[in-house]
């Protein structure tokens, strides 16, 4: 890196020296602009030809949300199932599978999209939500209500799309692909395209379609960086202590994704190389903890978090079961939900108390669990 003194020189001789490394910019050539215009026209033309006038009719997948000749690559065998939502039956699903694992591209994988209300059964809903939150999802860009990772995402649709019983409608995408769909932002773009098309077909589209325009500014830290370990203060949450021998703890993989005022997650998984699963499988969840303050995401869990305190002395409302713990309270002026999704670990209540204590302190509100006010 040339330091600034090198490029901020003054005077003629300095300038001459600089001339060797710096290019002095003056005027664009007319030809350049012409070429740009021509390129635009050409590309537009080519695209149109390819999409509409190609030798094959365009493939349509996921209710037409994604259409292009050569969905998921140009080679290999592509199959799909399609079950589009309608105004009368606002549920839909689709699945696109590509197998070119023996072909030149090496692509292999399946992308599934589901449109419809969140699962009705509370335990099922929490486990379903956990599947999207953990281990490494971050908030969708552009303030869109939902979460996304390289392998999938969940978007909560506006209230007008909700089911008759009030459950919010969602679009969920889940990719099992080798290589991946490309990255977090690429997955977000696919998810939002499916959401727009789904709303159109279900008859609840209104105004401008949802759009992803921004990049994703913050990705989760790499779990292999060793910034978090399982054991004491897991996920850097004070008091979140996971019991076990050194060997047992070593076999656990903690992951922190977002730590913002909208979302915070901490999950601990048993990686597939420990549990004996396939390497490209997700790890088996030991437990997952999340703080959610984004209003549409909160509405997904609001009814599960109950109307009464979850336990004696707790602030707010909630529900503690064998499968999940959920609590909801005002925190720094926002309705905030805390959840623990139980996997193979049985330390639930202690983990939940430690997590809610630490996160409420970070957000600047009173603790939820009783007996902590003195901290």
């Amino acid at each position: 890196m040339p330091d600034e003194a090198d490029v901020a020189g003054e005077g003629g001789s300095r300038r001459e020296r600089l001339g060797r490394v710096l290019r002095t910019r003056r005027r664009l050539v007319a030809g350049g602009a012409a070429a740009v215009v021509l390129a635009g026209v050409l590309t537009g033309g080519l695209g149109a030809w390819a999409a509409d006038a190609g030798p094959f009719a365009p493939d349509r997948f996921c209710w037409g949300a994604w259409q292009e000749p050569g969905v998921l690559g140009d080679e290999g065998r592509r199959t799909g199932t399609d079950d589009a939502p309608t105004p009368g039956r606002p549920h839909g699903s689709c699945e696109v599978t590509l197998d070119d694992s023996r072909g030149p591209s090496g692509y292999r994988g399946t992308v599934r999209v589901a449109y419809g209300p969140a699962p009705k059964d509370p335990a099922e809903r929490m486990s379903w939500l956990g599947g999207f939150l953990f281990p490494d999802s971050v908030p969708l860009p552009d303030g869109l209500p939902g979460v996304v990772s390289a392998g999938g995402g969940l978007l909560v649709l506006p209230e007008r799309c909700a089911a008759a019983d009030g459950r919010p409608a969602t679009v969920a995408l889940d990719a099992d692909a080798q290589p991946s769909l490309g990255g977090v932002r690429e997955t977000a773009v696919l998810l939002v395209a499916a959401a727009n098309r789904g709303m159109e077909l279900a008859g609840c589209a209104a105004g401008k379609p949802l759009r992803v325009t921004s990049p994703v500014f913050t990705l989760p830290e790499d779990p292999d960086d060793g910034l978090v370990t399982a054991g004491r203060d897991t996920c850097r949450v004070r008091g979140l202590d996971v019991e076990g021998t050194e060997e047992q703890l070593e076999d656990l993989q903690p992951q922190v994704s977002a730590v913002t005022r909208e979302l915070q997650t901490c999950s601990v998984s048993v990686p597939p190389w420990v549990s004996g699963g396939e390497l490209d499988e997700e790890g088996e969840l030991s437990f997952g903890l999340a703080m959610i303050a984004e209003p549409r995401l909160v509405s997904l869990v609001a009814d599960v978090a109950g109307e009464a305190p979850p336990d004696e002395g707790w602030r707010g409302t909630g529900d503690f079961t064998a499968d999940y713990l959920a609590a909801r309270a005002e925190c720094a002026g926002r309705s905030t939900v805390f959840v623990l999704v139980q996997g193979t670990d049985d330390g639930g209540p202690e983990h939940f108390v430690a997590f809610t204590d630490a996160v409420t302190q970070r957000l600047g509100c009173a603790p939820l669990a009783p007996g902590r006010s003195g901290r």
């Binding site: 005027r27 050539v29 635009g40 994604w66 998921l72 850097r236």
Partner: protein, 440 residues
């Protein structure tokens, strides 16, 4: 894939903390938690066998020389014509690059209103300087560098030449990677990183807002390349940023909103241009309208030095003419600059809250000055004119800095650092951070 994903040699076997002195011997020597070779093997397996989560996939810069982008499914293939204009724009960009030779050769016919890597409309400069159309541009377009893995650098300087041949710089823009370990220069203020922090993390700065890792004042602005473009920087690496410096403000002048907004827009334009060159999707929106009102110097409320409840400063820093200039909203850093009347800042209290930015201070924190120990996983360093302390908080590494302009009152640093760390770690829920200072 990228170097960061390769298995690493494990030299550190201490348990518990992610914060520990780095052996100076080189990049392979990263200390990390965990189980030695086995964890390294896992990293290799993950990189090789598995479509990685979040951090790696899609983060290979398309423009990085020598490492072909990983083949992947691309949404453009999945989406219909609505993305076609984007495709056209990308092709146009390529062609633009191709014509660069002709353009550099001054065959130009129509006016170049864009300067600095083809990213800036000269009009963007009009709040900052008179007659931006008359500025000369000297540029080193963004290129990958071999100075560090995955590195990028570029420079652009806009200046005015008067009749006598002397020049005045109107704007200097740089693309570079911030590093906490510049090497050499033992005893310096984190080498270039410390100087960078002095200039770009001051009390005049306002966060760009949202989730952006960037700030702007009426003199300078900076913004990191988004994680979704080049990946999240690995541990011990700082972010890659574009920074810009415009004309300096008059001493004692309050932060001018129009100039600050202009610099915020300029840095965003430059980052968008670099991202597009790297083949990354997504453009950062104009941040100016969403930014907080610029900070204004104000006297402290009683008992709240620098606006921090319960923080008491040595009497020297407390008479009626002192003013605090404090970062107006939560962002990558919270800085408080203490100035006497309209003087330049004489004391700075700073909390670096973004863990990626905090890495910029890692060298100073772990290897310079006299050692400061903390009660909980923390480390720090102390010198006559500054004290630093790093703690592991829920968000990751947080660095607390107490910095005086001169070395005349080392006892003030000793008094302020533990108090400041205690008050700020309470705010950020970093836990009990009792410091043990080295003997004076």
């Amino acid at each position: 894939m990228t170097d960061e994903r390769q298995p690493r040699a494990d030299s550190g076997t201490e348990s518990g903390s992610g914060l520990r002195p780095r052996d100076g011997a080189g990049d392979g020597d990263r200390a990390r938690d965990g189980a030695g070779d086995r964890a390294g093997d896992r990293a290799g397996e993950r990189a090789g066998e598995r479509a990685g989560p979040g951090t790696d996939a899609g983060s290979v810069p398309a423009a990085s020389a020598g490492s072909p982008p990983r083949r992947r499914w691309h949404p453009r293939r999945l989406l219909r014509g609505r993305l076609r204009p984007v495709l056209a724009a990308a092709l146009a960009g390529a062609l633009l690059g191709g014509t660069a030779v002709a353009w550099q050769a001054e065959a130009g016919v129509f006016a170049a209103d864009e300067v600095c890597w083809g990213a800036l409309d000269r009009d963007a400069l009009s709040p900052l300087v008179d007659d931006p159309g008359a500025l000369d541009a000297a540029e080193l377009p963004p290129v990958s560098t071999t100075s560090y893995p995955g590195g990028l650098e570029g420079t652009c300087r806009l200046s005015r030449t008067d009749g006598s041949g002397s020049t005045g710089t109107a704007l200097t823009a740089r693309l570079h990677k911030l590093s906490g370990n510049p090497g050499g220069s033992a005893g310096e203020w984190s080498g270039t990183a410390g100087e960078w922090a002095d200039r770009f993390l001051g009390g005049r700065m306002s966060p760009l807002g949202g989730d952006m890792l960037g700030m702007a004042s009426d003199e300078r602005a900076w913004l990191a390349i988004p994680d979704s473009c080049k990946g999240r920087p690995a541990e011990y690496e700082g972010p890659t940023v574009v920074d810009v410096a415009g004309p300096p403000a008059e001493e004692g002048a309050e932060v001018a909103a129009a100039e600050r907004n202009a610099l915020a827009r300029i840095v965003v334009e430059l980052v968008n241009s670099v991202s597009a060159d790297l083949g990354c999707d997504g453009a950062v929106a104009d941040p100016a309208d969403g930014m907080a009102r610029p900070p204004r110097p104000a006297p402290d409320e009683p008992g709240a030095f620098c606006g921090i409840d319960g923080l008491r400063a040595p009497a020297r820093w407390r008479d009626d003419r002192w003013r605090s200039l404090v970062t107006p909203v939560t962002g990558p850093v919270r800085t408080c600059d203490r100035q006497y009347g309209t003087s330049a800042p004489l004391l700075r209290l700073m909390t670096v809250e973004d863990p990626r930015l905090a890495q910029v201070f890692i060298d100073e924190l772990l290897r310079r000055g006299d050692r400061v120990r903390g009660a909980a996983h923390g480390y720090g360093s102390l010198r006559a004119d500054r004290g630093l302390y790093g703690a592991r908080c829920q968000t990751g590494l947080v660095v607390f800095v107490v910095q005086a302009r001169d070395s005349d009152h080392p006892e003030d640093i000793r008094t302020l650092l533990p108090q400041y760390v205690a008050a700020e770690s309470e705010r950020l829920a970093c836990g009990d951070q009792r410091l043990t200072l080295p003997d004076p």
